[in-house]
C-alpha cells in the first residue's frame, strides 16, 4: 500500500477520525504540562525578571508560524505534481492556523518588547521578516476566498505559495541586509547573550512539542471540514442540476 492512499478523501477521513482523539489528548496534555511547568515552576531570569515566562508562548508560536508555511509549501507542491485533493485542502486548512500562530508570535513579541526594549515594535530584521510572512498569509487566504471554482483556487494558491516562498526568502535576506537587530540570535535559548539554562529549556521543549501537536490537531480537524465542504458543494451542484 502506498502512502498516497491517504490522499484519498475517504481513506483520509477514516484514518484521521481514528487518529484525532489520541492526538488531541496528547496535544492538550503536552501543552498544559509545558505551560504549567514554565509558568509555575521556573524561576525568574536575573535580567528579564518574570518576563522570561513569555518565552514558552513566543518561541513555539513563532516557530510554528514559520513551520506552517513550510507545510503549506509541501502540500502545494504535492497538489501541483500529483493532484491529490486532500493535500490542496490541507494547505487551505493550515493557513488560518499558521496565521494565528504568527499573530501570537507578533503579539507576545510586542508585549515582551515593551519592558525589554522599551518599545512595542522595532524594525528589527527578525520582526520585519516575520511581519512580511504575516502579509503573505493574508494574501494567500484572500486569494483562496476570492476564487469561486475550488480546483482553480487550489491551483492558483499553490502557485502563489511557491512563488511567494521564494520572495519571502528573498525578503528575509534583504531585511537582514537592511538593518541590524535587537532581537535574540538563532539557536534555542540564547537569552540576554547567555545560553538558556536547562531550567528554561526543558519546559520550552515541551511547549514546542505541544504547539506542534496542536497544529497537527487543528489542521486535521480543518482539513476534515474542508473535505466536507467540498463534498457539500459537489452534492449541491448535482442537486441544482436535478432541479
Amino acid at each position: 500500500m502506498s502512502i498516497w492512499e491517504y490522499a484519498n478523501p475517504k481513506k483520509f477521513m477514516q484514518t484521521s477520525a481514528w487518529v484525532l482523539p489520541w492526538i488531541t489528548g496528547l496535544a492538550v496534555a503536552t501543552l498544559l504540562a509545558g505551560l504549567f511547568w514554565g509558568f509555575f515552576l521556573t524561576p525568574d531570569d536575573y535580567k528579564q525578571g518574570s518576563t522570561v515566562k513569555i518565552i514558552y508562548l513566543h518561541v513555539p508560536s513563532a516557530m510554528m508560524g514559520i513551520g506552517a508555511w513550510f507545510m503549506m509549501l509541501a502540500a502545494s507542491l504535492i497538489w501541483l505534481i500529483r493532484r491529490h485533493h486532500v493535500s490542496a485542502l490541507a494547505a487551505k486548512a493550515a493557513a488560518p492556523v499558521g496565521t494565528t500562530f504568527t499573530l501570537i508570535g507578533l503579539v507576545t513579541g510586542a508585549i515582551w518588547g515593551e519592558p525589554m526594549w522599551g518599545t512595542w515594535w522595532a524594525w528589527d530584521p527578525r520582526l520585519t521578516s516575520f511581519l512580511i510572512l504575516f502579509l503573505f498569509y493574508l494574501g494567500y487566504m484572500a486569494l483562496w476566498g476570492a476564487i469561486e471554482d475550488a480546483d482553480t483556487a487550489a491551483d492558483l494558491t499553490s502557485v502563489l505559495c511557491l512563488v511567494g516562498s521564494v520572495f519571502a526568502f528573498l525578503s528575509r535576506y534583504a531585511v537582514y541586509f537592511w538593518t541590524q537587530g535587537l532581537h535574540q540570535a538563532q539557536s534555542l535559548g540564547v537569552v540576554g547573550g547567555d545560553r538558556v539554562s536547562n531550567v528554561y529549556a526543558a519546559p520550552l521543549l515541551l511547549c514546542i512539542a505541544g504547539f506542534i501537536l496542536l497544529f497537527v490537531t487543528l489542521v486535521l480537524l480543518r482539513t476534515r471540514t474542508e473535505i466536507r465542504a467540498r463534498r457539500i458543494s459537489a452534492l449541491l451542484a448535482r442537486e441544482r442540476r436535478a432541479a
Binding site: G139, D149, T152, L160, L162, G164
Partner: protein, 218 residues
C-alpha cells in the same frame, strides 16, 4: 509578438489608455507626502529615497491592475490563448509593454521629484540608476500578480495585497542603493542584489504567470 507589443503600446497611448497617469500618480505621492509630513527640508531629504521608491512602486501597481483584466473581459485572452503565440511570450511582452509605459517614464522624471523631496545632490544619479534597474522587476512581479487575479471583478486591490509583499526585496535594495548613494557610501552590494532580483524575476516569472493564466482560463 511584436504585433502584441505594438498593440499594447498603442492602446496605452490612445485616449483613456492610462499613459502618463502612472507618472501623474508618482508626482502626486511626491507632492502629498510633504503636505502630510510638513515642509522641513532636513526631514524630507532624509526620507526622500524611501518615499520616492514607495511612490514608484504604488504607481506601477496601480497601472498594473488591468494588465490582463481588460483582455480577459472582452474575450481577447481566450483568443490569444488559442493563437500561435506561447503564453509565456505573451506575458513577457505585456510586462515589457507595461514597463515601457510606466517604469521608463517614471525613471525619466524621477530627478524632478527628487528636487521636490529635497534629495541630496549626490543621490540623483543613483536614483535614476536604481529605478532603471528596479522597475522592470516591479512590472514582472506585477504581471504575475495580475495573472493570478485576472478572473476576479475588483481584483485590483486583491492584487495589491498579493504583489506588495513581493515588492519588498526590490524596495529595500532600491531605496538602500539611493540612500547610500546620496550619502556617498559604498553601493556595490545593493546594486548587485537589485540587478539579481530583476534578472531572476524576468527569467522565472513569465512561466509562473503563464501557468496562472492557463489555470484562470479554464
Amino acid at each position: 509578438m511584436i504585433a502584441l507589443l505594438l498593440r499594447d503600446l498603442r492602446l496605452a497611448t490612445r485616449a483613456g489608455g492610462g499613459f502618463g497617469l502612472g507618472l501623474a500618480f508618482f508626482l502626486m505621492v511626491a507632492v502629498l507626502v510633504p503636505l502630510g509630513v510638513g515642509p522641513e527640508a532636513a526631514t524630507l531629504s532624509r526620507i526622500a529615497p524611501g518615499i520616492l521608491w514607495v511612490g514608484a512602486l504604488l504607481a506601477c501597481l496601480l497601472s498594473l491592475d488591468r494588465l490582463f483584466a481588460l483582455d480577459f473581459e472582452d474575450g481577447s485572452l481566450d483568443l490569444l490563448a488559442t493563437a500561435p503565440i506561447p503564453l509565456e511570450g505573451m506575458v513577457a511582452v505585456k510586462g515589457l509593454a507595461h514597463w515601457l509605459v510606466t517604469g521608463l517614464p517614471l525613471t525619466a522624471i524621477s530627478p524632478v521629484l527628487g528636487l521636490l523631496m529635497h534629495l541630496a545632490p549626490a543621490g540623483y544619479p543613483w536614483l535614476v540608476l536604481a529605478l532603471a534597474l528596479g522597475t522592470p522587476a516591479l512590472s514582472m512581479i506585477g504581471a504575475f500578480g495580475a495573472a493570478l487575479t485576472v478572473g476576479l471583478k475588483r481584483g485590483g486591490l486583491l492584487m495589491s495585497l498579493l504583489v506588495l509583499p513581493m515588492y519588498v526585496p526590490t524596495l529595500i535594495f532600491g531605496a538602500d542603493l539611493v540612500t547610500r548613494g546620496a550619502q556617498g557610501q559604498a553601493t556595490t552590494t545593493p546594486l548587485l542584489f537589485l540587478a539579481a532580483v530583476t534578472l531572476g524575476s524576468a527569467a522565472v516569472l513569465p512561466f509562473a504567470a503563464a501557468q496562472a493564466l492557463r489555470m484562470n482560463l479554464r
